[in-house]
């Protein structure tokens, strides 16, 4: 691992297109500004690790580990949707391949 010492306002350049700026240091907290080409995802490590773990766990599923049908839903979920719910449902257009 490359280890560099930088002061607030100084930068590190990664490749030709990624700029990391030390915005400020306060106690144990460092604020970083990151300029990267549009499209490069940037995550805080803990959320990246957590989502990766969830994705990998999800991808281990066997077909028979999913219920063939929905278990009996609680009554509030089977009741008629209110206005907010209708707006939400309008976002959903599941594809039906095949």
């Amino acid at each position: 691992m490359l280890i560099l010492t930088r002061r607030p306002g100084e930068r590190v350049v990664i490749g030709d297109e990624i700029l990391v700026t030390v915005m400020g240091v306060s106690g144990h907290t460092v604020r970083l500004g990151i300029a990267a080409p549009e499209g490069i995802p940037i995550y805080r490590e803990e959320i990246w690790l957590a989502v990766m773990e969830e994705n990998r766990a999800a991808a281990e599923a066997n077909v028979d580990a999913l219920p063939a049908e929905k278990p009996a839903p609680p009554t509030e979920r089977s009741s008629a949707p209110d206005a907010g719910d209708t707006a939400a449902q309008a976002l959903e257009r599941p594809q039906k391949p095949g």
């Binding site: 549009e38 499209g39 490069i40 995802p41 940037i42 995550y43 959320i47 990246w48 957590a50 989502v51 990766m52 773990e53 969830e54 994705n55 990998r56 766990a57 999800a58 991808a59 599923a61 066997n62 077909v63 580990a65 999913l66 219920p67 063939a68 049908e69 929905k70 278990p71 009996a72 839903p73 609680p74 009554t75 509030e76 979920r77 949707p81 719910d85 939400a88 449902q89 309008a90 976002l91 959903e92 257009r93 599941p94 594809q95 039906k96 391949p97 095949g98």
Partner: protein, 148 residues
């Protein structure tokens, strides 16, 4: 035109070309650049987000609105720029599911939903503080009845 791919779960699968979803950045930690949505069992609410280019790569997904009526998505400015999706109206939204044999233990990841629009898909971070990584998909009906 159709696309045929192999699946360790479903054998040979044939889909329409327009049902291929490009994920320019793949899924976090899993990659995969092309996926499609297959129905699990009609009426179950489950779908499989299946990689077209990897026979073993598939994740169960559901529409969050179908299981979590109060679900809301808030995405950070950088995700809006990256995906080009400023307004999620008209986008399909899915969340990944951790499957287990006991339905009560099945959870959905509301923190990192999948946005699909115009044949492109992105996994984004939901910055809504209520969106947890593991939310039980099925509330226990018995508890509801006791409560009422």
């Amino acid at each position: 035109m159709s696309v045929t791919f192999q699946s360790i779960r479903f054998g040979t699968v044939e889909i329409a070309q327009e049902d291929v979803i490009e994920f320019p950045f793949g899924l976090i930690g899993l990659g995969g650049l092309q996926y499609t949505l297959l129905d699990h069992n009609p009426g179950s609410g489950f779908h499989w987000l299946h990689a077209v280019d990897n026979a073993a790569l598939a994740l169960p997904v559901v529409s969050p609105y179908q299981f979590f009526p109060s679900f809301t998505l808030e995405i950070a400015a950088e995700d809006r720029e990256r995906t080009g999706i400023e307004d999620t109206t008209g986008a399909e939204l899915y969340v990944t599911v951790r499957a287990t044999p006991n339905p009560a233990d099945i959870t959905a990841n509301l923190r990192a939903p999948l946005l699909v629009r115009d044949g492109r898909g992105y996994q984004v971070i939901n910055t809504n503080a209520d969106a947890a990584l593991q939310v039980p998909l099925f509330a226990l009906p018995t508890q509801e009845r006791i409560a009422s």
